[in-house]
Amino acid sequence: MNDPVLFYGASAALSCVLLLGALEKVKDMAAFSAAVSAYQILPSGVSGAFAHVYVLAEMAAGVLLLMPGWQAAGAALALLVLAVATAGLVYNLARGHRDIDCGCGGPASRGAGASRTGLSWWLVLRNGGLALWALPALSVFAGHARALQWADAAAVFGLTTTAVALYFTANHLLASHLKLRNL
């Protein structure tokens, strides 16, 4: 089942999350590069370049998700970005490297006195949730699309803002969960 409200709302929310995440990484590119090399997957020479490519891809996905007609491409790119991040996450969780900065907390992880976020399986779950938001943009409309009404504007706006807010709430909850674990 697909509906224009779901389509626009989910794409806009995913786009917001990606763009805000990319912005946060661009603001402190050195920290993000350090986080990438702390994952210890790529050779040290490549990780800096990879960090730049990753942020560019994240930004491109965010922008594409907002452009009419390009949403499906944006959603696919977003899925790819998420898959790469989650693969790195799962790989390090599987080999027990938990105490590294995940480089993915968004603004929540940079709050006053916030320490390095650390990895947990909850992050994988969070990324899985984000991936779900890409689905409406990927699935083709069955039959003809419903015409949008004025009430839909409110629904799209509400869905987008609550989804983004829920994402950041989840980040805060995760951060405090990890802090509590270390208390």
Partner: protein, 211 residues
């Protein structure tokens, strides 16, 4: 119509997510409370025990007034041992002043120390402690067996020792008042679930309230 149905479904989805968030939050608060349990003033197992009658003293303070300690009276007495050379004591002085005004209905604070008079008098004036009587007596500290500063001893209206401990913060100072109110020897005791003693002292404290 479709728009409303979709909007309704989405709203339910959002409500469910919010409920999950609230659940996670309340769980975190619970864990936080467990991990950050209150830490009361550290009580040294020396000197007169909590529940005993406090040793009685009648001493002149720095300004020459006669001050009685451990007497039956209208107010509880907090005997606060300090020294001009102890930095934590200085940090606690503003807290003492604020506690003196908020608890003035039932509490009188008396400062105590020992050593040379001129040094203490200068400290007394400089720190603006004129509202508190300030006793200089080695014997007082010996009787209560004070080995670490700042140390506070709380005595109730009947001259019975109700709580005592090493004080490093407002929280620890207030833990003495809480211990008196709850009728336990110390907050640590209360947390350890020392129920028998609690019951006995509760009875005592209700008697004290009635009297």
């Amino acid at each position: 119509m479709d728009a409303l149905i979709i909007s309704n479904f989405l709203l339910w989805g959002v409500v469910l997510c919010l409920v999950l968030v609230i659940l996670a939050l309340s769980r975190q608060i619970g864990v936080l409370y467990e991990r950050v349990a209150p830490m009361g003033a550290l009580t040294m197992d020396k000197g007169p025990a909590v529940g005993d009658a406090a040793p009685r003293f009648e001493l002149p303070d720095l300004l020459g007034r006669r001050i009685t300690i451990g007497e039956r009276g209208q107010h509880s007495q907090l005997l606060f041992f300090l020294s001009p050379t102890c930095p934590v004591c200085k940090k606690l002085l503003p807290i003492l002043k604020s506690v003196a005004s908020t608890e003035s209905a039932w509490l009188r604070i008396v400062l105590a120390s020992d050593g040379e008079m001129p040094e203490h008098l200068a400290f007394y004036k400089q720190a603006g402690l004129e509202r508190f009587p300030y006793l200089l007596s080695t014997e007082l500290g010996m009787k209560f067996q004070i080995s670490k500063l700042p140390y506070a001893v709380l005595m109730d209206e009947t001259g019975t020792l109700r709580a005592k401990g090493l004080i490093n913060s407002r929280e620890q100072l207030e833990s003495l008042f809480t211990a008196k109110e709850l009728g336990v020897a110390s907050v640590q005791d209360f947390l350890a679930g020392n129920m028998d003693e609690t019951r006995v002292s509760r009875k005592e404290s209700s008697n004290a309230l009635a009297g």
